[in-house]
C-alpha cells in the first residue's frame, strides 16, 4: 500500500459523495399496490371510465374541506335505485340504505401521524387526484402502498436514496419543490404548514 492507494481512496470517497448526490435527485411516483378489501366491491374503473363520473362528484368535500369525503349512501342510491339494482354488490348497498347505516369503508390512504393534510388547497392549486392517489380510474377498489417502509429506510441508511414511498414526507416535498420550480406554484415548504 502506498500514497497512491491513499489518493485512490480519497478519490473513491469523493466519487461516492457525487453518486449519492446524483441518486438524491431521483424522481417520484405514486406507488400502487394490490386492491384493498372493501365491504362493497366498488369498481372505480367502471364509474370513471365507463360512466365518466368526475372524482369530485362523489368525493365532494375535497374542494372545500380538509377531507376528500365519501359519498353518502343516499347519494349512491340516487343512481343505484335504478342503475344495476339487481347486481349483488348493489343489493348490499341497498341494504345499508334501508338500514340507514353508513357503509364501513376501509381506509386506504393515510398521511403519517402528526401531519395536517388538507385536500382543499391541493384541489385549488389544480393538483390532479391521481398525482397522489395513483391511477384510480384503472382500479377496481382503491389501492395504494403508502407510508415509510423498512426496506426504503435501510436503503437510505446505506446512502442509496431510492424514490420516497407515497405519502411520506420526502414524497410530498419532492412534489412541492417540483411544482414550485416548474410551474412557479407557491407550494409551502414550511414545516409548520403541515406540522402544527
Amino acid at each position: 500500500m502506498s500514497a497512491k492507494a491513499g489518493v485512490g481512496a480519497l478519490g473513491a470517497l469523493l466519487l461516492a459523495v457525487l453518486v449519492f448526490l446524483a441518486l438524491s435527485s431521483w424522481s417520484r411516483q405514486p406507488a400502487v399496490a394490490q386492491a384493498s378489501v372493501q365491504p362493497i366491491n366498488f369498481p372505480h374503473n367502471v364509474h370513471v371510465q365507463t360512466y365518466k363520473i368526475d372524482c369530485q362528484y362523489c368525493h365532494a368535500d375535497a374542494r372545500r374541506s380538509e377531507y376528500a369525503g365519501l359519498p353518502s349512501v343516499t347519494r349512491c342510491m340516487g343512481c343505484h335505485k335504478i342503475t344495476a339494482a339487481d347486481k349483488p354488490e348493489i343489493k348490499k348497498l341497498a341494504e345499508y340504505a334501508a338500514k340507514r347505516e353508513p357503509v364501513p369503508w376501509v381506509r386506504v390512504f393515510k398521511v403519517p401521524e402528526f401531519t395536517y393534510f388538507p385536500h382543499k388547497p391541493h384541489i385549488r392549486a389544480g393538483v390532479a387526484c391521481q398525482s397522489c392517489h395513483g391511477p384510480v380510474e384503472t382500479m377496481t377498489t382503491a389501492a395504494g402502498r403508502t407510508g415509510p417502509r423498512l426496506v426504503n429506510d435501510l436503503l437510505n441508511l446505506t446512502g442509496v436514496r431510492p424514490a420516497a414511498p407515497a405519502l411520506t414526507m420526502g414524497w410530498c416535498i419532492d412534489c412541492h419543490r417540483d411544482q414550485n420550480a416548474t410551474r412557479g406554484a407557491k407550494a409551502p415548504l414550511d414545516c409548520v404548514t403541515c406540522h402544527h
Partner: protein, 450 residues
Amino acid sequence: MAVTEPRAATPTFGDVNRDVVATLRTPGNLYFAWMCVIGLLLAAFLAAWTYQIYIGMGAAGKRAPQMWAMYITTFVFWIGIGHAGTLISAVLYLFRARWRTSIYRAAEAMTIFAVMTAGLFPLIHAGRMWFAYFLLPYPNQRYLWPNFRSPLVWDVFAISTYLSVSTIFFIVGLIPDIAALRDASTGWRRRIYAMLSLGWEGSDDQWRPYRRAYGLFAALATPLVLSVHSVVSWDFAMALVPGWHSTLFAPFFVDGAIFSGFAMVAVLVIPMRYFFGLHAYVTDRHLDYMAKLILVTGLVLTYFYVCELFTAWYSGDHFEKASLFWKVTKNYAWALWTMYFCNCVAPLIFFWKRARTSVPIIYAVSILVLIGMWFERFNIIVPSLAHGFYPYTWGIYKPSATDTMIVVGSFAFFFLLFLGFIRVMPSLSIVEVKETLPPPMKERHGHGHP
C-alpha cells in the same frame, strides 16, 4: 484474592510477562462480591431507565427551569473522567514522560469506559430516546439533516470521534500485549487471544509501521483531548443562561477534566497495585507525580473559579451577578461550598511531600476531588438554571428516586466494564513497561533507566 508480595529488585522482561499474566488468574471471593453489588446496582439502573422510558421524563426530577439536571451533570462528569487516559497515553507519550507507562493502560481503559458510560446519558436524558438517531447525519426519506449549529450535534461528533480514536489507540496498544498473553495461555483462551492479537508477532516489519502509527495516534489524540471537553463546555457556553455564557468555559472544563481524571486514575490504580502486587511497576514515584498533577490542575481550577467570580463582578452584568450571588448564598450554596472545599482546599495538602506518597491521603483526596468535580458540574447546571433571566420560573430541583438510581447505576456500569477488563486483559502494558526496563545485555553497557 492473591496478594503478591512486592519485589524490590528491578524486574526482568520475563518477570514482566509473568507478573502481568498473574493478574489474570481466577479472582477471589472479594471480586465476585463486588461484582454482585455492581450487578444489583445495574439491575436497579435498568429498572429505573425502563420506568422512565415508559412513564416519561417526568419520572426524573426535572422541571422548568431545570430542564437539565443530574443526567447532564453525570454525563459531563464521566466525559471529564475520560480525559486522563488519553492525556496520559497521548500527551505524556509525546512529551516522553516515561513514568506514564505503568499506569497508562488502566487509564486508557478508564477513559474508554468512562466515555461509554457518559455516552449513555444523552440517551437517558432525551425525552424521546427512540428518536435519538435523528441526531445522526444519514440520508433519509424526510430529506432532513441534523442542525450542525447545535452544540449537541457537536457533542455527537466530538464524543463519537473521541471514543473511536481512543478505542483505536487503546486497541493498537493492546495488540502486542495480547500476543504475549496468547503465547502464555492454552486452549480456548489461546484461540481467543490469537484472534484478538490479529496474529501479531513482533517482527521488525510490524514494529516499524506500528511505532510510526502510534506516534501519529498520539499526535491526533492530543488536540482531540483538548477539543472534546471544550466542545462539551460549549453546550453551556453557547447558551445564554447566566452562569453558562462564558468564554472561560473551554479551558476551565479541560482543566477540570484532567483534574478529575487523575483523581479517578489514582482511585483505580492504587487498589490495583495492592491486589495485583504491582509495586515494582507502580511505585511511590508514580503516586508522587500523580499527586503533583492533581495539585497543579487543582490550582489552575482555583484560578478559574476566581476568574468566574471576578468576571461576574467586573462585567457588571446584572443577570450574571444575581445568578452568582444567589448560587453562593441561597438554596444550593451547600453544593457550591462543597465544591470549593473539595477542589480548591483538599488538594493543597499535596504541597507536603509526605502527603504525596501516603496512599490513604492520596486516596482520600482523590475521592474528594471526584465528589467536588461532580458537584462542579451540578453547580454549573442546576443552580444556574434555577436563577436564570426570568424570575417567574425560578424554582428548586429535587432529585427523584429514578434519576438517583440512574446516576448511581452509571458508576456500576463503569466499574462493571473496568473490573471485567482487568480480569481478561493486561492492565499493565507489557511492551511499554519492558521498554522502560534496561534491555537484557550480555555485556554491561548501553541503556539505563530514565
